[in-house]
Amino acid sequence: MAVARRGVHRARWLKLQVFRYAVLGLAALFFLVPIYAMLEFSTRSNSGGRTLEFWQSIFTYPDLINWNFGPAPDAAINASLELALITSVVMLVLLVPTMVWVRLKLPRLSRFIEFVCLLPLTIPAIVLVVGLFPIYIWMGTNFSDSILTLSLAYVVLVLPYCYRALDAGLGAIDVKTLTEAARSLGASWASVMWRVIVPNISNAILNALLLSVALVLGEYTIANNLLYNNMQVELVHLARANAGVSIAVAVASLFFAFILLIAISFVGNRPRRALPEAVTTFGKGPVQGSAG
């Protein structure tokens, strides 16, 4: 009887394994075939062999990349990277304290804040552009016409995704009790944020950062319609002039996103500091027993 039951269990387990690997294989094909095709295309030479000419051109092609990282980037990749950085920082500085404050002091506003943050999801990018256009004309005349001003629009764009990531992180900890405990121990509000809240939502912050960077690096509609040249806009221009370089840049930006993702996941899961002494052999989860 028991042997028969074990057999049924094993057959079920095998079926499940086959299903899992089949799904994994299909998903991998779905993602990898286009990347492989792009890689193949971007390394194909006219003579029929392989060449890295297009890849090397990324660094020499005009308006694509240079080492002038600063307040007035004059190359598309530089601009996109700087925009990603500024957008992520502004988003975090705006969103994290606001969300913590709303949870602590204004819980009645949480629904409203959520609604406002998720609103950009429901507005098509082109509609956003129509709304932003007069603002950018005014800014270009009175303030600055630098491509970095796009970060204002991008902060709005990334808001829904980052809000969700941070909300999940804050929901996983008891913000009120931790804050009150830290305050009662003498922590200022800045210390509460920096030493208590941020370390406990670090994974959520990393997720929000990743989403923000990925969105900004892949953004085309707003930049193109506001007449700015970011990486995606430049890629489209390039595709018309030199398809090989355009595909090489596209694959490179994909790899950049992968590396970023892996790096962020490593940072998020880095091992805890080595314990300096004694107790090091406990398992995960609450320890039962000598409570009291």
Binding site: D174, T177, L178, E180, L185, V279, V287, A291
Partner: protein, 359 residues
Amino acid sequence: MSDRSGVEVRLENLVRRYGPVTALDGLSLTMAPGELVALLGPSGCGKTTALRLLAGLEQADEGRVIVGGSDVTDLPTNRRNIGMVFQAYSLFPHMVAWENVAFGLQMRHVDTAKRKKRALDMLELVGLGRFANRYANQMSGGQQQRVALARALAIQPQVLLLDEPLSALDAKVRSRLRDEIRRVQLEVGITTLFVTHDQEEALAIADRVGVMQAGKLEQLGPPTLVYSRPATPFVADFVGLTNRIPGEVKNGGVEVRGTQLPLVQQGVPVGPAIALVRPEAVTIAGNGDGQSGPLVGTVIAVAFLGAISRVTVDLGDMTVLAQLPTAAASDHPAGTRVRLALRPDPVLVQREETASVGA
């Protein structure tokens, strides 16, 4: 171990309103240096609000908070030098136990070596020296609350506030930790406010117990006094079990089912009233077979509580609880007829109620 003697704490006429609800209605309380006062009351009575006002986590609408002679009413929490243990587990999850305990010292810019030593000393004080390198999720609830206690004491606060720190723990751990809190409090000599809704906890741990209702302090006194001489019917009802037996006030006492009992209150007008009689003041005088009388009835249930048992007796028109040693109770299983007697302890009477319901 005592680092400093406690300070006097005064809450003066504290009022706190939440919209139309008055959570605290003119609370005044003075705690002597080194004293442990327990605030006891049902949910929503204002006890936690009082503690949070003392901690500075909320602002009073009226009144003052004086700690060690200084008015701290307008000081923010982080500048009050108050240690607090919360009902919810509040250890910082990203820090090990000793780092948690050292957090308050870090905020006070104590150098690393000193704060680590102090943190380890405090963990030893609560019996968790071996657990210094554990994270919160590697400790049981009881251990976490002990670390939280060590953390609260590490900053050498002027006042220790305990906001139902035992309510999330199971019964056995709760009673052990309760004793441990009292031991540490006496050892450190710190003035402590303990908020709880568990009367047993309050009576067991406190120098004085304050019973609160609807934002007001109904009675404040030593546990024995609060239990044996409740100042109001609410206190009598809330602290311990009480039989509500109809009787008649006359001759300076109250006659309850043929027995004359002395009164706690003075100057109660003559007439019908409800006497609040403790179950331990009700004894079984003997077998009631074939007898009748106001205190003769049938045992309908016997609850075994260890050394004592609680016997429910149906007197026909009401039920009465009697609390007696288990050995005595075992002679009267459910279904037997018994004759009750009332010990002549002073009782409170209540005039407004007429219902004749048992405890």
